[in-house]
Amino acid sequence: MANVLAVLEVRNGALRKGSAELLAAARRLADASGGTVDALVCSTGAVNTDTLGAAGADRVLSASHADFANYCPDGTVATVASVSAQYRAIVVSASATGKDLAPRIAARINAPCAMDVTSVDLSGDTIRVVRPVYAGKALQTVDLRGSTVIAVRPGAYAGLGAGKAGANVSITVPPFTKRLDVTGIRTANTGLLDVAEARVVISGGRGLGDPKHFVLLEELAAAFGGEAAVGASRAVVDAGWAEHGAQVGQTGKTVAPELYIAVGISGAIQHLAGMRTAKVIVAINRDKDAPIFKVADYGIVGDLFEVVPALTAAVKQVKAH
């Protein structure tokens, strides 16, 4: 029987997006063998966890500690380790925080670790996961034996409807040494969503001609009403037109949004590696021979300075209805 612990993320006293998705993945693993899912929430105490039962948690383990105001890897690892013997698998979201946490937990409890997992299954003694490698140019299937730590990629599992009790249980944070002191989070300049989290990503490339033209993309993102982020190709990040946090591609972020709109991006292989798993790809480019059109579901050949404002107006109109 595979009991699963899902370690959820908290920021500013609230659960992060992706908590329900993570519970869905945990549920899938647990249900395969009639196991249970516990959600672990490390916080200073006042987090609303009411939705977690509906999202699939049998129990919600709340661990309160004054050091949990910010992300506290050392305290979280100690807390997970104190309960880990009860679980076949420990899952985290493959976010920046989850990917920081997973290998620490794995090393502490002497378990193997798999990152960026897009699919997870239990078969006998083995947990089988699929994960993109070589920047998405190949998919690796890996078998992990014994207790296992898995970071599940955002977007891999939709939230499930199968609700559970979500019974609240308080657990004690064991003593730990706070080796790393996270002092806070400085909000990035854009104020927009992060490309790795957004449902819609609109990326710009050299075709924009000038960094000031990114405003066109920001306007289009704004038309989506807070669910879109603006990304950039490596060429324009290297040229200093956009922050590297916005870079989509092999040396930047890998994104899997529902809608990816590539504007003035030719589609170098390194860029494609970062966005090819998007559900729908739209390309807008002046050059009809641009490689981006080979991966795009829908393409418009034309001047982005005409097409993008027209698209912005059309999206606004649809959203207004």
Binding site: R206, G207, S266, G267, A268, I269, D287, D289, A290, P291
Partner: protein, 396 residues
């Protein structure tokens, strides 16, 4: 868009397997430098007709100047194959940048190293290696190109030094150089054996460098005329071991060696661009690379490049063994530059109308290579040198 995917060279015959780890490392570092620093600016420099001066410190820091000269003078102490690979990679970017490095290394540092006094070497070589001083090489004159022995620039010995008079033309780096190696006759103007080399700081009164305007080739390179009007030099300005026309010709053999590699680099750039374009350009519903005529073009290009690569490499190995005779160098310069011209032209044609744009590289290479075909011994002169080697009969 041109150059959207990174350049990875052309290696059909596993040339890499014939190179040492250091040689490959040198090639890769220069290739990465060209990608990062030269490719983003070369188009604009070419259109505006200016040399990208801002790149000189970075080139020096990498050690691109006189890289095959010894470490005691601040140089990298590479073998000749590694040196050749540097030239190949620089010319993959642009012949003008390769020319700059060729002149600094083979035509300024080499003669100081070969014909200079210990004091001259210690003073000048580290400064030239670090890019603190920029050099040029004054041999060719308005009326004496292929026949440099006929030069009429003179150096007259005075009580306290030398007095130089004359005009030099087609001098790469001539305007931006801080020091020139000037070749002049110390005896009668009919006496080629009296030719000697002089180290002439550009700040010397009577020395002027003037940009040659209106070039349609090597536009990202400084090509100048040098006027020497009663230029007074101290006694120790002469390169003491220079003796006759063979001294500057030895320098040219060094430079031609690098050009033989450079031609390969330019050809590789054009082939790479043509191949990518052939795969991406759709016409009549299929990539033009799926048409027989473009496949033949590409097959010819790859064949010629592979032959030229093997030629350059074996010449380099011979040079490291001291067996790269001037005639052997002539053969490689003649073949490889002519080959590069042909490939650049075919690549330009394969690119169709897009091929005339500066966003693509083949036409820039084509225009450059017409100069490379002509300088450092014209293609025709190398035919005559080889003819003489074969028959023992001089036809010039």
């Amino acid at each position: 868009m041109a150059g959207s995917a990174e350049y990875t060279g052309v290696d059909f015959y596993d040339m890499d397997g014939l190179l040492s780890e250091e040689e490959r490392a040198v090639r890769d570092t220069v290739r990465a430098w060209v990608d990062e620093h030269l490719m983003p600016v070369i188009g604009e420099c070419y259109i505006e007709g200016k040399f990208p001066k801002q790149l000189i410190p970075g080139m020096a820091e990498l050690g691109l100047f006189g890289a095959n000269l010894p470490e005691e003078y601040g140089c990298a102490g590479l073998n000749n194959v590694a040196y050749g690979l540097i030239m190949q990679e620089l010319e993959r970017g642009d012949s003008g940048i390769r020319s700059f490095a060729s002149v600094q290394g083979a035509l300024v540092m080499y003669p100081i190293f070969s014909f200079g006094s210990d004091q001259q070497k210690k003073h000048w070589l580290p400064r030239l290696a670090s890019g603190q001083e920029i050099g040029c090489f004054g041999l060719t004159e308005p009326d004496f190109g292929s026949n440099p022995s006929g030069m009429i620039t003179t150096a007259r010995e005075t009580a306290d030094g030398w007095l130089l008079n004359g005009v030099k033309m087609w001098i790469t780096n001539g305007s931006q150089a801080t020091v020139a190696i000037i070749w002049a006759k110390t005896g009668d103007v009919n006496d080629a054996s009296s030719i000697r080399g002089f180290i002439v700081p550009a700040s010397t009164p009577g020395y002027t460098g003037k940009d040659q305007k209106g070039k349609l080739s090597l536009r990202a390179s400084d090509t100048s005329e040098i006027h020497l009007a009663d230029v007074r030099l101290p006694k120790d300005a002469i390169l003491p071991k220079s003796a006759g026309i063979k001294s500057p010709l030895m320098c040219l053999t060094q430079a031609r060696y690098g050009i033989a590699w450079g031609g390969v680099g330019a050809a590789m750039a054009c082939y790479d661009e043509a191949r990518r374009y052939a795969l991406n350009r759709i016409m009549f519903g299929k990539p033009i690379g799926q048409t027989q005529i473009q496949q033949e073009r590409l097959a010819d290009m790859l064949t010629e490049i592979t032959k030229a690569q093997l030629l350059a490499l074996q010449l380099g190995r011979l040079k490291d063994q001291g067996k790269a005779t001037p005639a052997r160098v002539s053969l490689a310069k003649r073949n490889n530059v002519s080959m590069a011209c042909d490939i650049a032209r075919e690549a330009r044609r394969l690119l169709g109308a897009n091929g005339i744009l500066i966003e693509y590289h083949s036409m820039r290479h084509l225009a450059n290579l017409e100069s490379v075909y002509t300088y450092e011994g014209t293609h025709d002169m190398h035919s005559l040198i080889l003819g003489q080697e074969i028959t023992g009969l001089a036809a010039y």
